[in-house]
């Protein structure tokens, strides 16, 4: 097996290389040659090809994403911004919180269980890498139609994978989404979010500073995971002696990750690392080049020291391997003995693979031969940047002009039938078949989880400081108007934090789209980013990080534009949160916010095969006033309960409220044919003791929010304009759907 070294590359400039098979364009290949002043070695080619891929380099999205920095409001709360593994925000009392979403869409289609499991594992390592203890996870998911064969194949595996990995790590799952739509057939979306907490002084960064410091690889051994593409290289360049076909599937070992977390936190607590990076996409290529370029640039690595699970791996494959549960740390020599000792305590495999140098090049050797000699910045950060053509797709004006025609419930029978249908439709049905597979209690700090508007965890057991997180995306609205859709998702996520009385602080996002090579998709993407950036600017919330997933597309059909927005909020005392529902009779119910005839993009329209009309326009000033009202109402203890209105409108929200503690309500609304099903944004139902009515009205007036009395709580029925829906019947409709579909 011939090794391609730097000197061979110098002496044989004309050797043909499979750059196209590795996904590089001719001009990208030419640029690599220009950077190096010679052809790359096969190892260098492997590194550049994965690091310059869409997934790692953000080459199609970069020009748009930079708005998040440019338009951002300056806030002292942001301790670490975009660019690191995850952003970090100050939540007070000396605590910092980090959170981020990442996608694992394609792997979850290929192997649902492992794809979803390793998606959770990856985002948890990103959070750990910042120096934080991971404290909770969430999983926004999208699937094809609930009764489609493909959905039956992927959904159970994905749910089991999210649970299997998260449960074994001891991370409470505090929320997520399960949404069905035809466009996700063949393109399920598995987004995973993790939240972590640390003290300010514990923040860690991905940088390799200080010549002589050691490069330490610890965690799982390296195998041939996720390097399907690179084996092209191995087989083209060499007569490969290893297994011909490397698996593109990565398999996770949550036990190893759990031990890695505890081991790392013990190492952090003793302040034994200078810099740290997890190994995710692009494995060692990414970790070494990012660490080196985060420091002065110089690093030497002896690749043959990497502990292998499969002895037949070639150096190219080792550089690319996406084996899970690995971390790379920069450690001062004086600390290495203690570092190794802690790894030994936790039975974690650990190897010194190199050292930081005072040069500016990343040099990697294989049994003494130099196989990589590159300026690390060129690998990690100077990838190609594309300003891809974009064009407003033809469908937009056409569908915006359509009028939505759906049945309008007016009579008592129609009202009852509508409420029951909405309660049972897969997008709105009870998700406990899913969430009961997730541990929500572990760590003993979970204050809210599904089906609450947001997840909430306590981070200090003495002061009861806590954080709340919600994720949202309304792909129907994004399809009709991606700019407004992104803003509306942001507003909804923020509102979901605020109903509990927490104050929104920071934003993360996972932008799931079709192919960036399609100008229409690129337009959807650009509009979504612009909408989110404008929205965050207006609401004064920083974007702390995120992830882009392109190529979610089957043939010519792209998924609906699905920007999943996560908002993190803080609450000074979790004991004072406003619960999502009421547990007793005799309370008064009010609707905060006005209802218009917003049927376009609604669940009721979707259920009737309608995907036309115009999306609502986000009024973020009003959203902010509503948020202030909700936070103020919590601190002055006015609310007994508060619940957001979103998909399924008033009908769905009332259903969720009365079923939560099995206490009914008697409601009267005007224009029921609109009020019941409209999805006008910026609305919340609150429950109060009748005695605080005047305080509530004053609060609404102060914040200029329209308020309408809906009715009272109590009884064993949900009664709407005289239509009686027994709670038992409603519960049956709501809870039967998932067990029937997925058993």
């Amino acid at each position: 097996m011939a090794l391609d070294t730097v000197s061979i590359a110098q002496n044989n400039p004309d050797t043909s290389q499979p750059f196209a098979e590795l996904g590089l364009k001719p001009d990208e290949y030419a640029r690599i040659k220009e950077i190096l002043g010679r052809r790359p070695t096969s190892s260098e080619l492997a590194m550049y090809s994965v690091m310059w891929s869409e997934h790692c380099s953000y080459k199609s999205s970069k020009v748009h994403l930079k708005q998040f920095g440019e338009k951002a409001v300056k806030t002292d709360a942001l301790l670490v911004g975009i660019g690191e593994n995850a952003g970090v925000v100050d939540v007070g009392q000396g605590y910092a919180v980090t959170f981020k979403i990442e996608s694992h869409n394609h792997p979850s289609f290929v192997e649902p269980y492992q794809g979803a499991a390793t998606g959770v594992g990856g985002i948890v390592r990103d959070i750990l890498t910042m120096g934080a203890r991971p404290i909770a996870v969430m999983d926004p998911l999208r699937f094809g139609p609930a009764d489609a064969a493909d959905t039956r194949r992927v959904l159970p595996g994905i749910i089991a994978g999210v649970g299997g990995y998260g449960n074994c790590l001891g991370l409470p799952n505090i929320g997520g989404e399960v949404v069905f739509d035809e466009t996700y057939i063949g393109n399920p979306l598995v987004n995973a979010l993790c939240v972590g907490v640390m003290k300010h002084s514990d923040i860690k960064l991905a940088k390799a500073a200080g010549a002589g410091n050691l490069v330490v690889l610890y965690g799982a051994k390296t195998g041939g995971d996720g390097i399907g593409g690179v084996s092209v290289l191995a087989s083209e360049t060499f007569e490969s002696s290893g297994p011909a076909k490397r698996p593109a599937v990565q398999v996770g070992d949550p036990f190893v990750e759990k031990v890695l977390i505890e081991c790392s936190l013990e190492i952090f607590a003793e302040d034994l690392v200078v810099g740290i990076q997890d190994l995710g996409g692009a494995g060692l290529s990414c970790a070494t080049s990012e660490l080196a370029s985060g420091g002065s640039g110089g690093m030497k690595v002896e690749l043959d020291r990497v502990p292998l699970r499969d002895a037949t791996l070639s150096p190219e494959e080792i550089l690319m391997s996406e084996s899970q549960e690995r971390m790379c740390a920069i450690v001062e020599p004086k600390n290495i003995a203690r570092f190794l000792e802690i790894c030994k305590k936790w039975d974690v495999t650990v190897t010194v693979i190199g050292e930081v140098t005072d040069g500016e090049r990343l040099e990697i050797t294989w049994h003494g031969d130099l196989i990589v000699d590159v300026p690390p910045r060129t690998v990690a950060h100077d990838g190609p940047v594309y300003n891809r053509p974009l064009a407003k797709p033809e469908y937009v004006d056409r569908v915006n002009a359509e009028t939505v025609s759906v049945p309008r419930p007016k009579t008592a029978d129609e009202i009852k039938a509508t409420v029951l249908k909405l309660a049972a439709t897969p997008n709105l049905a009870d998700k406990s078949w899913v969430t009961s597979q997730y541990d929500r209690y572990v760590q003993g700090n979970t204050i809210q989880s599904q089906p609450d508007d947001s997840g909430m965890v306590r981070i200090d057991e003495k002061t009861h400081l806590g954080v709340a997180v919600a994720t949202d995306a309304n792909a129907n609205w994004s399809y009709l108007n991606p700019y407004e859709g992104a803003k509306l998702a942001l507003a909804e996520a923020a509102r979901n934090i605020a109903t509990a009385g927490a104050k929104p602080l920071a934003v993360t996002n996972c932008l799931n789209f079709g192919s960036p090579e399609d100008p229409g998709v690129m337009w959807q993407f650009a509009e979504s980013v612009r909408g989110l950036a404008d929205g965050c600017l207006e609401m004064g919330l920083p974007v702390t990080g995120g992830n882009v997933s392109f190529y979610n597309q089957t043939g010519a059909v792209a998924i609906l534009p699905t920007p999943v927005i996560g908002v993190l909020g803080v609450i000074d005392d979790v004991r004072t949160r406003t619960p999502m529902s009421f547990d007793r009779a005799g309370l008064d119910l009010y609707l905060l916010g006005e209802t218009a005839d917003d049927i376009a993009g609604s669940e009721w329209a979707y259920m009737h095969g309608q995907r036309g009309g115009s999306a609502p326009v986000a009024d973020l000033q009003r959203e902010m006033r509503l948020i202030e009202l909700l936070v103020a109402g919590r601190t002055s203890k006015i609310f007994t309960a508060a619940h957001d209105l979103s998909q399924g409108g008033l009908s769905a929200s009332l259903t969720e409220m009365v079923l939560r503690y099995h206490v009914g309500a008697d409601i009267k609304v005007e224009n029921v044919e609109i009020a019941l099903i409209s999805e006008t944004p910026g609305r919340v139902i609150v429950a109060i003791e009748p005695v605080v009515k005047e305080q509530l009205l004053a609060l609404a007036k102060k914040h200029e929010i329209v308020i309408t009395r809906l009715g009272t709580t109590g009884g064993q029925d949900l009664v709407i304009n005289g239509a009686i829906i027994p709670l038992e019947e409603l519960r049956k409709a709501h809870s039967e759907t998932f067990p029937k579909l997925f058993g």
Partner: protein, 81 residues
């Protein structure tokens, strides 16, 4: 009545966390015979009478679609006395 056995193992290149855990536990208990351990599944299927070639072909099919996940696993089908 006969017994058809389907053995399902992870492909050799796929990480087998369970096998790794067993490999690590054996020496701690003083057992040093194992160079490596892989853990898989075994299905024992009872069928009426002697299995016919048609039936065995069906079992192969079932193994491929249900019992094993061909993305990460291999399987063998055999009749056991």
């Amino acid at each position: 009545m006969a017994k058809i056995v389907v053995d399902v193992m992870l492909k050799p290149e796929i990480l087998d966390p369970q096998g790794v855990a067993v490999s690590a536990a054996l020496p701690r208990l003083g057992f040093n015979f194992a160079k490596s351990v892989r853990q898989g599944k075994r299905f024992e299927i009872e069928v009426e009478g002697e299995p016919t070639p048609v039936q065995l072909a069906e079992v192969e099919k079932a193994a491929e679609t249900l019992l094993a996940n061909p993305v990460i696993e291999t399987f063998t089908v055999r009749v056991e006395k």
